[in-house]
Symmetry: C2
Subunit: 218 residues, 2 copies
DNA sequence: AACAGACCTGACCAACCAGTCAAGTTTAAA
DNA sequence: TTTAAACTTGACTGGTTGGTCAGGTCTGTT
């Protein structure tokens, strides 16, 4: 016996490899989120993945390459959430769906969100190119849509950028500052609290830009 | 010659000490913001403060003690900004002033804000007690005020916590994610852009909670 | 002037960490 | 069954880092 996970089934070569890589990435995500890139140690990641440290280097050549993969995996999730901003939909529906999705990501991908925040906060040394390409073009397209809504008189005049930043900030806050929120709340937010927070955020933003939202309890 | 700063005047003993300590704290704030606690090195801080590394240890016993002082200094600034939420003022004025002040802090204390965000993101190992005492009581008092406004029918019914988190998140975002914002903006925000962003944030939030703000160009 | 204590700093060290490697074991294909 | 490649891992290493310290300089006081 020399399997990685305690309860690892012996699948095919490729399956096992994939599984081990995912286990390492999962562990790395948590450790990087907790300690930052500089504070994280390969040993800590190895311990969390229940693998010898040398094994990590068999799958990922260096700490930086491992970190890069973690960040890229997060970016994929970010992109998927971004896609839920439907440029064809009505303003209210599009924004509400996008905010709800981002709140959900903050709840389910807390560690990933933190890694992303850390990376950007430290000047995005790894993912600068993503910011300049994928993020930029996504943002530009959404700015155009919101400007169209404004031109049509459906949304109060404003620079869409400040609105997007506000949505990013607010939703991401629930992941990045989860510890602070949970300290003030004396424990993790309940399902009901998450729903209420999401609804309140939607309500403030939609009303704030001049829409009259119906209750979003679909 | 053995002075710290290139252009240091020979003041009194106490003055010089204070000046050197501040120079170290300033340097440490920047380096901790850029690299996180784990990624920062005493050597990097020393270089930035233009002092030999051993000198840092003369003034601050350990890296952790230095970090602690940096964080405590930030918390003081946070408290000062928090005080601008005037519980006596009208809802619109109180919130507008508070948001404006927080936006200003984000602009002027970018590094400090990042250190704070980092600390909280990593579970607030150093300042947990502040969160539980000062932050908690400040928050409770403001929640009470907002609830009073709601009871008086001046603000749309909502849980004040989600509103406060939204304000914290949005304003802090301009410091923590400055790099992302500046990438999308192809450069730092101008004075006019800061003013516009601030006004837009105020507008969305105030309208979002049911107030009809007059233009805040005081 | 003489002294004590505050202040400064180059050189050093022990601990730690990313990354390597050689000697294995397991797997799958021939 | 044989064989080669994929995988595993304990032990090791070179470089870095937080922290120390001895020997010096400066400053205010008597």
């Amino acid at each position: 016996m020399a399997q990685a996970e305690g309860a690892e089934k012996s699948g095919s070569r490729a399956e096992n490899r994939e599984e081990t890589e995912r286990a390492i990435l999962d562990a790395a995500e948590v450790v990087f989120a907790q300690s930052g890139f500089g504070g994280a140690t390969m040993q800590a990641i190895a311990d969390r993945a229940r693998l010898p440290k040398a094994n990590l280097h068999y799958y990922f050549a260096s700490k930086e390459k491992l970190y890069r993969q973690v960040v890229e995996r997060i970016f994929t999730i970010w992109l998927e959430a971004a896609a839920s901003f439907d440029t064809e939909a009505e303003p209210e529906a599009a924004l509400r769906r996008y905010i709800q999705r981002k709140m959900q990501v903050s709840r389910e991908q807390r560690h990933g969100s933190k890694v992303w925040a850390n990376e950007v906060m430290h000047g995005a040394p790894i993912i600068q190119d993503y910011l300049e390409s994928a993020l930029k073009s996504w943002t530009d397209s959404r700015i155009a849509v919101i400007n169209r809504w404004i031109a049509e008189g459906r949304v109060r005049p404003l620079d869409p950028r400040w609105l997007l930043y506000m949505i990013w900030a607010t939703t991401q806050h629930y992941a990045d500052f989860a510890h602070q929120i949970e300290t003030l709340n004396a424990g993790p937010l309940s399902d009901a609290q998450w729903a209420e927070a999401t609804e309140t955020v939607c309500g403030i933003i939609l009303r704030g830009i001049g829409l009259e939202p119906a209750d979003g309890l679909a």
